[in-house]
């Protein structure tokens, strides 16, 4: 690199041994808008400076203006590939803060939805890693099953992607038979497709050569960088919020947490793949548990919290208290108790934390989202240093950076 060539450069030219390459913000391989200004020596990356904030939407300032229910739509747009997890994380935080206990059936239904969204998030990540290495077919095979997951969400909440699913205390409506039929169809057909997807990638010579040994990080450095979720588990640390601080009755389920060794792209792919199998098993267990509720127990889909859960429309039109609660909830005039809470759930990317400070008003005084993508994207220069540009592309997609979560 420091070789002295017999070249006389003209006056005023920048004498540099490395090329500056602008990677982003509009680039087909960046999943969302990030900019990396790379210094490359030939094809090898020497260093990188990142720029983020191209989609900063000021969620935290927005949340100071809105009562609790109006914050759920903005949590949707954090990790939009798995928005039910964000919604339920927020509702779990509110429930913990307001001391609301949810019935078991609600917990199990929530687990079903959260694991479906985890599958949907990991599907996007793994299939896009495939697309970035040049294999487009896997993406098309599994998108069919993402459409089925979207149909299940539609049965419950009415919308596909940014779901705004659930309410504080439970769900807005009971799951219909159509929802359960679609869930059974998913559980029957999806494992075959996942196996087909695996057969395309997991032992594929080209894929393995592209992803093994690139973008690796050690467990100590990963912890220092604040990694959580599949990226940290691929580096060797088995930290999973569902196991450490079980929420929504996760302690009733039997599942393992897959852990990798080197933290490179291949390990991340394998960890996400294994987590999808674990999610399928959790959904099966939850479905059996839900089916075990019979009679009137099977009609329970929310906790009894009149201050936060909208009363039935028949009651609103006939009873006075129900009308008052309806008005107060819709206009957001319920006063929150004073205090502060930090609650975390296991999102698709890791520990999604909500730090809520309330001073007794109708809106939070401060709401801060602990966004996993923002925190582990800092490690990107260290991950790609010394690698090729194409490895930088694959590393970025295997980290599962979601722009909405990064910039909030």
């Amino acid at each position: 690199m420091e070789a002295n060539h017999n070249i006389t450069l003209p006056e005023g030219s920048i004498e540099k041994q490395t090329t500056t390459l602008n990677f982003g913000p509009t680039h087909p391989a960046t999943h969302g808008v990030f900019q990396n200004i790379m210094e490359v020596d030939g094809e090898r990356v020497v260093s990188t400076v990142q720029t983020v904030g191209y989609i900063h939407r000021a969620f935290e300032k927005l949340a100071e203006r809105r009562p609790l229910y109006q914050i759920t739509p903005i949590t949707d747009r954090l990790n939009y590939c798995s928005s039910p997890i964000n919604n339920m994380g927020w509702h779990l935080t509110c429930e913990k803060f307001l001391n609301i206990q949810t019935p078991k059936r609600v917990d199990y239904l929530r687990v079903i939805i959260m694991e479906l969204s985890r599958i949907s998030d990991h599907l996007i990540c793994n299939s896009i890693v495939g697309v970035d290495t040049g294999a487009y077919t896997g993406f098309l095979y599994v998108m069919q099953y993402r459409e089925l997951i979207y149909e299940i969400y539609e049965e419950v909440c009415g919308s596909r992607l940014t779901t705004n699913i659930g309410r504080i205390g439970g769900f807005e409506r009971n799951f219909t038979n159509a929802a359960f039929t679609k869930l059974e169809k998913f559980l029957n057909e999806y494992p075959k497709t996942l196996r087909e997807f695996e057969s395309l990638f997991t032992r594929n010579r080209i894929f393995m050569d592209r992803t093994q040994g690139t973008g690796g990080i050690s467990a100590e450095r990963a912890m220092n960088y604040g990694f959580t979720g599949p990226n940290l588990r691929a580096a060797g640390v088995d930290y999973d919020v569902r196991v450490q601080q079980p929420y929504s009755s996760y302690q009733d389920f039997n599942f393992t947490v897959p852990v990798g060794t080197t933290g490179d792209n291949y390990d991340r792919y394998l960890v996400r793949n294994a987590e999808m199998w674990e999610s399928i098993s959790i959904i099966r267990q939850a479905y059996e548990k839900v089916q075990a509720f019979k009679g009137t127990d099977a009609d329970v889909y929310h906790a009894d919290v009149p201050e936060y859960y909208l009363p039935k429309k028949e009651d609103v039109y006939t009873k006075m208290e129900a009308l008052i609660w309806h008005f107060k909830i819709i206009m957001g005039e319920i006063e929150l108790p004073k205090g502060q809470i930090y609650n975390a759930v296991e999102g698709g990317n890791g520990e999604l934390g909500f730090y809520l400070i309330s001073d007794g008003g109708r809106t939070p005084f401060r709401l801060h989202f602990r966004r996993p993508s923002f925190i582990y994207y800092q490690a990107y220069p260290e991950l790609i240093k010394g690698g090729m540009i194409s490895d930088a592309v694959v590393t970025m997609s295997s980290l599962n950076l979601i722009a909405g979560e990064l910039d909030a």
């Binding site: 969302g32 747009r77 992607l161």
Partner: protein, 195 residues
């Protein structure tokens, strides 16, 4: 069984022998020739082979990925090849929130596109800022570039994105050949500060 209130008497599609014919432009048919306006032929060719540039920033981008996938297949409309280079694309599909930091980038991409070019603003955030009425979000991309079609929704369903795309196809099919050189178009671009 959910009670169905809409579309209980659906319109039958006019398909004979499982082939439905496209609508030909007005013209004089003959034995081995078809005389019509040049702009109709050019419009017909252009509208069935639009190459989009997906400028996907956030959630609407995921719905676009669902539109490109096999269930809602956008490739049937001729956009098999989505390009990421503005020099080679006709249709700029802006999907997702555009923050003020991103606006100059968007403008630069639009300027790099060659005429004729169309812009479709997908989603509420691209159309008007969406639910983010904040200090950092551009309240609609028509503050920086001229837009042809707006698709509302948050995010719009893939069917809505395809509907927007079909409206762009209508615009492309009926566009006059001289439009891009006309005074009105030049005035429009000048009002955005684009030469």
């Amino acid at each position: 069984m959910r009670p169905v209130r809409f579309n209980i008497h659906p319109k039958e599609a006019e398909i004979s022998d499982a082939i439905s014919m496209g609508i030909a432009p007005d013209g004089i048919p003959g034995d081995g020739f078809f005389a019509t306006q040049l702009s109709s032929v050019v419009g017909l060719a252009r509208k069935n082979s639009l190459w989009p540039l997906p400028f996907a920033t956030s959630c609407c981008g995921i719905e676009f990925m669902a539109t490109m996938a096999s269930h809602y297949d956008l490739a049937r409309f001729g956009s098999e090849r989505v390009g990421f280079s503005p020099r080679q694309c006709d249709l700029l599909m802006v999907m997702g929130t555009i923050a003020k930091k991103m606006a100059p980038v968007l403008r630069q991409v639009y300027i790099q596109m060659a005429e004729p070019r169309w812009v479709i603003a997908v989603g509420a955030c691209a159309s008007s800022g969406g639910i983010f009425d904040t200090y950092s979000v551009l309240q609609g991309i028509d503050q920086v570039i001229p837009v042809d079609v707006y698709v509302p929704g948050c995010p719009p369903r893939p069917e809505a994105i395809i509907d927007g795309f079909m409206k762009v196809q209508d615009l492309v099919g009926q566009e006059s050949i001289r439009r891009r050189n006309s005074e009105k178009y030049k005035a429009l671009l000048n009002s955005y500060g684009i030469q």
